[in-house]
Amino acid sequence: MKKNFYEITYIINPVLDDEQYKEVVDQVSKLIESKDGELVEVDEWGLKRFAYEIAGKSNGYYVNAYFNAPSEAVEPVERQLRINDNILRYLTLKYDSKMLAYYDKRKKGELPTIFEETEEEE
């Protein structure tokens, strides 16, 4: 079966404690694997302040994950995330060739920056 590369970011309700965060992350990871997906990377950003309030909360626990999966897997995974009350928001992106090139560069730490240029022009 043809698999695509996906990125998913979701925000867990900050009222939970550390162990419960782990549980939710495990749940989601297992869910992806149960749909024939292989996780490539799971990156927990931890608690971050929101730029605006979501569901009356001012911060949330961010998790960013990358996985290979057939396209049929995405819909049931998103469905479960929607049902789960502990997940405030999620965003799934399918990677195209340019985004994959970007991902590889990021892994190697070769990302282009625009910083120096911005400073000299001001």
């Binding site: 925000i11 605006y52 340019k98 090139a101 625009i114």
Partner: protein
């Protein structure tokens, strides 16, 4: 831009380059909040191309990245300015 050699504005106008093209971007990531913020004003609005000189291609990608970052509350939809 201005072809007429005696045009008064000739020599004063800067040709702006797209910074994303110059830096060799493949894709503008919504997670890269620092970069995004350089192309927003204090209120969190997207700066127009005529100000930043961004190419049409990257302006589209950039605004998409901004919308994604806003959705995940990484950057505000509306920033309340304390004056």
């Amino acid at each position: 831009m201005i072809k007429n050699p005696s045009h008064p504005k000739k020599g004063h106008l800067k040709t702006k380059d797209c910074r994303f093209t110059k830096a060799g971007f493949d894709y503008i990531d919504y997670k890269d909040v620092d970069t995004l913020q350089r192309f927003l004003n204090d209120q969190g609005k997207i700066l127009p191309r005529r100000v930043t000189g961004t190419s049409a291609k990257f302006q589209r990608q950039f605004s998409r990245a901004v919308r994604r970052a806003r959705f995940l509350a990484l950057i505000p939809y509306v920033a309340e300015n304390v004056r």
